[in-house]
Subunit: 159 residues, 2 copies
Amino acid sequence: MADETLFQLLHTEVVAAAYGGGRGSGDEGQRTGLTVLEGMGFRVGQGLAERLPRGALVFREELDTIKFLCRDLWGAVFRKQTDNLRTNHQGTYILQDDNFPFLTQMAWGQQYLEEAPKFLAFTCGLLRGTLSALGIESSVTASVASLPVCKFQVVIQKA
Amino acid sequence: MADETLFQLLHTEVVAAAYGGGRGSGDEGQRTGLTVLEGMGFRVGQGLAERLPRGALVFREELDTIKFLCRDLWGAVFRKQTDNLRTNHQGTYILQDDNFPFLTQMAWGQQYLEEAPKFLAFTCGLLRGTLSALGIESSVTASVASLPVCKFQVVIQKA
């Protein structure tokens, strides 16, 4: 049994539910759906981080925390690491996944590009929630130029 | 990172969402919430079963299929097997989990027993959906006599 697909299947259902039943139509519904998904991701990220052994929570530098997301968080959720990490060394980080699992299913049709945001909102929240539990407030957005490549931009909120 | 908790955290969010935002209040809302969760479980179960290698889908006897649920499905979803399986040899099966993960969090308070059904609906659907994809139509209900022990009753629909 391919148990790594379990999370993906449930995520698909979650996205469908967030946009189902008359919700998610129109710009207002779109925003509500994204907010709901982002919030769910945030709380799941918090929960994951809170279950870490205490030692793992102490990172010397901000970059170490971001690397933890790329390696450990991505590993736990997607069974791989991100493919690239860039930073401007001023609190902005770009995490790139060249084959983002939640987008793989739709990669055959570029015409579905406008559908992509609903498959990214949960993960934006997941990153933000994990960072929040690690003591770092941030804003996270995602962009897709070409399916299934996805970039998550993390901007650290300076205290 | 405890990645087996990922699915559980997301399930918790799904339950909360099914009952959130004014939905899920009153008997009608309760039923709607349960139906939504059961439907999500059904489709996830179907998806899991459809991703199985073809060979695994051929079971000689009904009981083999049920044992597959107890061992492989439970293994993939909950990282363990069910603790007990009973049957009346007439198409009714009782799958018992003595420490059902979705109930573990609330096991300390028997006063929350009435909250239990919302944490069982998804898994009822999961069983029904997996069986459906394996060619067996069924109805699945769950009952809790004492937290966190849970019994799932599978009744096979005879053709």
